[in-house]
Each structure stands twice: as structure tokens, then as C-alpha cells.
């Protein structure tokens, strides 16, 4: 058996699988998004932009996603950064690994159960009951944008901490010593050395969290109670309840396009920021 045949044989199963289970389905979505809704629930082949013209009907879902996804990402970043800094710079190396693993482990466990935990905590018999007891009455937490935000931060915090930790851990600690030897204040050291050098980690973390949030369904479904509606929830509704495949496909395609555009703009920005920072640090 030649090397070439061997390579092809090894690649065959994975290639076929990707073809049938990834490329074919995605193509069908794209084709259907230009189709027309059939009365029975399927799609009549056509080439029309009607579905896309109808997108404003689901504007609220896009608006919610495009506000809560960036806000959630930012909130996760603000909470994650100090922790990542603590783990990378301050912690005794002996404890570093175990503490890091403790941050990541929740991410690999069921997001469904973890979001459920917050229904339990934020629901009428959880935190509000506790607040009631200490005298703050009538607080409603569950089924609010706040609950969804808490769920988002809780769900994706580990994913934010990890890349920032990696970039801070790689940072040459002698740079920090040099800065303080040269009389820089702690704030200046952070602003001029630590922060710029951790930008790659921040960028990766934000991108990972943002991408996952764009397609989020579970957290708003469980903690938003149908009041805080994401594109993901609109998609479930369109495909599983109203069975409007053509329109649903157009929404799905739009979601992916919006995601790609935001990520591209974001990466451009980060690159420019990274470059300008570098100039400053050279001076």
C-alpha cells in the first residue's frame, strides 16, 4: 500500500462524515433561506429574498442578543481578569495548577444543570426569600435580564479566565521587577506592561465567550422565562414550534453572518490596538 492510498484511507471516514453531517446540512440551510414556506411546514424551492426582508419581525431577538452578548462578555472579562492575574502572578506555584483546574472544571460540566442551579437560587424560595428575611421585600430576580446576565457570567467565566491566565503566566516576571526598579508605580506597571502584554489572552477569551453567547439558547430560556429572548430562542421557536423552515433558515444564516462580521471587526480592532501598544512600549 502506497503512502498516498494510506493517507486517503485514513482521511476517508472523517471526510465523508464532515461532508454528510456538516457541509450538506449547512448548504441545505443556505438554500432553504432563499425558499418559500410550504403550507405543510416544509420548504418550496425558490429564489427569493422574502425571508430576509422579513427579518425585522425578529428584531427584538437580535437586539437582545447583540446587547446582552457584549455586556455579558464585558462583565465576564471584568470579573475574570483580576482572578487570572491573581492565579498567574500572585499565587504560590504549588497551588497554581489545582486552583486553575478548579476554575475550568465547571465549564466542562452540564451547562443545563448549572443554569438550573440559578433557577433554584434566584427563584422565589431562594435569594429573594433570604432578602425578604433581612428586610428587603418584593425583590424579583428570576425571569429578568439580570438573571440572564448572572447565568451568562456564571456559565462562561471559566472560558474567560483560562486564556487570560495563559497570557499572563507567559509574561516575563522580570519585566515587572525592572519596571518597579525604574520607579514605576504599580498602576503604571500594570497599565504599560501587564495589560498590553495580556491583550492576546483578553482577545481570545472575549471572542470565545462572545461566539458562544451569540448562539445561546438555554440560559435565556431557563433564566429569562420567555421575557428575555435571544436569537437562539427565536430559532427553537421557528423550527420546533411554528415549523417555518424557510424563515428560520434565513434567521440562522443571518446569525452566522452577524457573528462573522462582529468577530472580524473585533479582531481588526484588537490587532490595531496591539500594534499601537507595541509602539508605545518600545518608546
Amino acid at each position: 500500500m502506497t503512502r498516498r492510498t494510506r493517507t486517503w484511507l485514513l482521511l476517508m471516514p472523517a471526510g465523508t462524515w464532515f461532508l454528510v453531517m456538516l457541509l450538506l446540512p449547512l448548504t441545505v440551510v443556505l438554500v432553504f433561506s432563499f425558499g418559500e414556506r410550504a403550507p405543510a411546514g416544509g420548504v418550496v424551492p425558490a429564489f427569493t429574498f422574502e425571508q430576509y426582508a422579513n427579518l425585522p419581525a425578529r428584531w427584538t431577538a437580535f437586539k437582545n442578543t447583540l446587547t446582552l452578548a457584549p455586556v455579558g462578555t464585558l462583565a465576564a472579562l471584568l470579573i475574570a481578569y483580576p482572578l487570572a492575574y491573581f492565579l498567574a502572578v500572585k499565587v504560590d506555584p504549588k497551588w497554581k495548577t489545582i486552583l486553575l483546574v478548579l476554575v475550568i472544571v465547571p465549564f466542562w460540566t452540564s451547562i443545563l444543570i448549572r443554569s438550573y442551579a440559578w433557577i433554584f437560587l434566584l427563584g422565589g424560595r431562594g435569594l429573594p426569600a433570604l432578602l425578604d428575611w433581612i428586610g428587603i421585600e418584593g425583590v424579583r430576580l428570576i425571569n429578568t435580564p439580570f438573571a440572564v446576565l448572572v447565568g451568562i457570567i456564571y456559565g462562561y467565566l471559566p472560558l474567560m479566565v483560562f486564556p487570560i491566565f495563559v497570557s499572563l503566566d507567559r509574561l516575563d516576571k522580570r519585566l515587572l521587577e525592572a519596571a518597579s526598579d525604574l520607579g514605576a508605580t504599580r498602576w503604571n506597571t500594570f497599565r504599560q506592561i501587564t495589560l498590553p502584554l495580556s491583550i492576546p489572552g483578553i482577545a481570545t477569551g472575549c471572542m470565545l465567550v462572545f461566539i458562544l453567547l451569540m448562539g445561546e439558547f438555554l440560559i435565556p430560556a431557563l433564566l429569562g422565562g420567555g421575557k428575555v429572548f435571544f436569537v437562539g430562542n427565536a430559532l427553537v421557536d421557528l423550527f420546533l414550534q411554528s415549523r417555518n423552515w424557510a424563515y428560520g433558515s434565513a434567521v440562522a444564516v443571518t446569525l452566522v453572518i452577524v457573528m462573522l462580521i462582529t468577530v472580524t471587526i473585533y479582531m481588526r480592532l484588537i490587532n490595531r490596538l496591539g500594534a499601537s501598544r507595541e509602539d508605545v512600549s518600545i518608546m
Partner: protein, 272 residues
């Protein structure tokens, strides 16, 4: 700083702890702790719907993790020696599989397969011998396993590739210089070195499939996996039984994760 870190860890673990605590609560409600009891576990494990869903979840997770580890490892090995367009295409496929939101993968698989089956079923019926009932393709266990395998394959390829990249090429070259057949080199040099990564990939895939809700929600047809069962019971209201199921699910993932972590670390240390 230390205070802050403690607070974040509390934030991460209190919700999980509360679920576990209340799963052992004798009372029905969160507001009242009424003594230790394992009755909710008994109730969950005695519920035929839960056991059915658990069985489906385990079957799907095991099969798709196995297929993904096998095909993913094969592809990772082959891609090592490939350059040019084939490499680019595979890199792109892996990227797309990982980047596209799970919900879009779920939708695409649903309408893609339903459309495909609508084309194939009449053909099958025509090809089938007269009188015998032709099989009808529909959404169910098969489509769920296939969808999970696709996604997990991308994951396994990434993990095994990282391991292969860290491997000393001199070893395989030495082996072939010493007249080992390609298969001999694979069995005696490459496989032992990548095996921990493959096994870790299998365990991670298993947890991923076992915990997946969104893809299964679209492609499982009439089958119910454990996350689907839990989701629909949450919709009907919070019960201590869900706390017990949740605690068990978290427990299983934790055990598998620790095992995967240990394997990946052992794999990293050995060659040095």
C-alpha cells in the same frame, strides 16, 4: 486580592453545592432544610422515564465518543503528512465545526437529514423486494449519534494533533531507519505515545455528548436523552428529584474530567 479570588471561587461553587445539598434534603422546598435523606435519589433511579433517558444518553455518548476517537485519530495521523489543498480543506472543516454555534449545527442537521431522508426513502421503497416492508429512515438514535460524532471528531482531531505536534519526529524516523514497517512503527512508537491523548479525547467527547442539550433537542427525533428529560421537567417546575439527577450528572462528568486530565498530564510527562 486573595479575598477577591475566594469570592469568585464561592460564586463558582456555591450554586453546585446548593444543588448537591438540597438533593439530600428530606423536605420538598429549597427554603426548608429538613434533615438528611437519600429518598430523592431513590425516586429518580426508580423513575422509568429517567432510566430510559439515562440509557439513551449513555448509549449515544459511548458510541459517538468511540466513533469520533477512532475516525478523529485516523484523520489526525493522516493530516500530519499532508500539505496543500487537502490540508486546507480539513483545517477549514474543523474550524467551521467548532465555530458554528451548536444551535445552528442542530438546525442544519435536522433539516439537512429530513430533506435527505425524503429523497432516500422512496428510493429504498422502490429497491426493496415486493411484499417486504422497506425500512424508513427517520430522525432518532442514528441521527443523534451521527451529529455528535461529527462535532466530537473535530475535537478529537484538535487534541490528538496537539499531541502529535509535541512528538519527537526523530523517533519515528529512527524506527523506519531500523527497518520497521509503517504499521510496526505505528504500533510500537506512535500509538503508545498518542494513546493518552486519544483516551483523553474519548473521555472529553463522552462528557460533551452526555451533557449536550441543544444538538440533541433538534436531532433526537422521538428519543429522549437525560438533558432533554431534565429540561422538560424544569419547565414543569423545580423538584428535589431534579436536584438528585443534577448532582449525579455533575458527579459523572467530574470523574471523567479528572481521568482525562490525569491522562493528558501523564502523556505530556513520559517522553521527557
Amino acid at each position: 486580592m486573595r479575598m477577591y479570588a475566594t469570592c469568585v471561587y464561592l460564586f463558582l461553587y456555591i450554586p453546585i453545592g446548593v444543588i448537591a445539598l438540597f438533593s439530600f434534603n428530606a423536605g420538598r422546598h429549597a427554603s426548608q432544610l429538613q434533615g438528611f435523606s437519600t429518598k430523592w435519589y431513590g425516586k429518580a433511579l426508580g423513575n422509568p422515564f429517567v432510566m430510559d433517558a439515562l440509557q439513551t444518553s449513555l448509549l449515544v455518548a459511548f458510541t459517538s465518543a468511540l466513533l469520533a476517537s477512532l475516525f478523529g485519530t485516523m484523520a489526525a495521523l493522516a493530516l500530519q503528512g499532508v500539505r496543500g489543498p487537502v490540508r486546507t480543506v480539513f483545517d477549514m472543516l474543523i474550524y467551521v465545526a467548532v465555530m458554528i454555534p451548536g444551535i445552528v449545527i442542530g438546525i442544519a442537521t435536522l433539516i439537512g437529514l429530513v430533506t435527505l431522508f425524503d429523497q432516500l426513502n422512496p428510493m429504498l421503497a422502490a429497491l426493496w423486494p415486493e411484499g417486504a416492508q422497506a425500512p424508513r429512515l427517520s430522525m432518532g438514535l442514528g441521527s443523534l449519534i451521527a451529529a455528535h460524532t461529527m462535532f466530537l471528531m473535530a475535537l478529537v482531531i484538535i487534541i490528538v494533533r496537539a499531541r502529535l505536534a509535541g512528538m519527537d519526529r526523530a523517533l519515528t524516523e529512527a524506527s523506519s531507519d531500523l527497518y520497521a514497517t509503517p504499521f510496526g512503527t505505528f504500533r510500537q512508537v506512535t500509538l503508545p505515545m498518542i494513546f493518552p491523548a486519544v483516551l483523553a479525547g474519548f473521555l472529553l467527547s463522552f462528557t460533551f455528548s452526555f451533557d449536550d442539550f441543544i444538538i440533541a433537542f433538534f436531532v433526537a427525533g422521538s428519543e429522549t436523552t437525560l438533558p432533554i428529560y431534565v429540561f422538560s421537567s424544569i419547565r414543569r417546575g423545580v423538584t428535589p428529584e431534579i436536584n438528585a439527577i443534577g448532582t449525579m450528572v455533575l458527579g459523572v462528568s467530574l470523574i471523567l474530567l479528572v481521568a482525562a486530565q490525569v491522562l493528558l498530564r501523564r502523556g505530556e510527562r513520559k517522553p521527557k
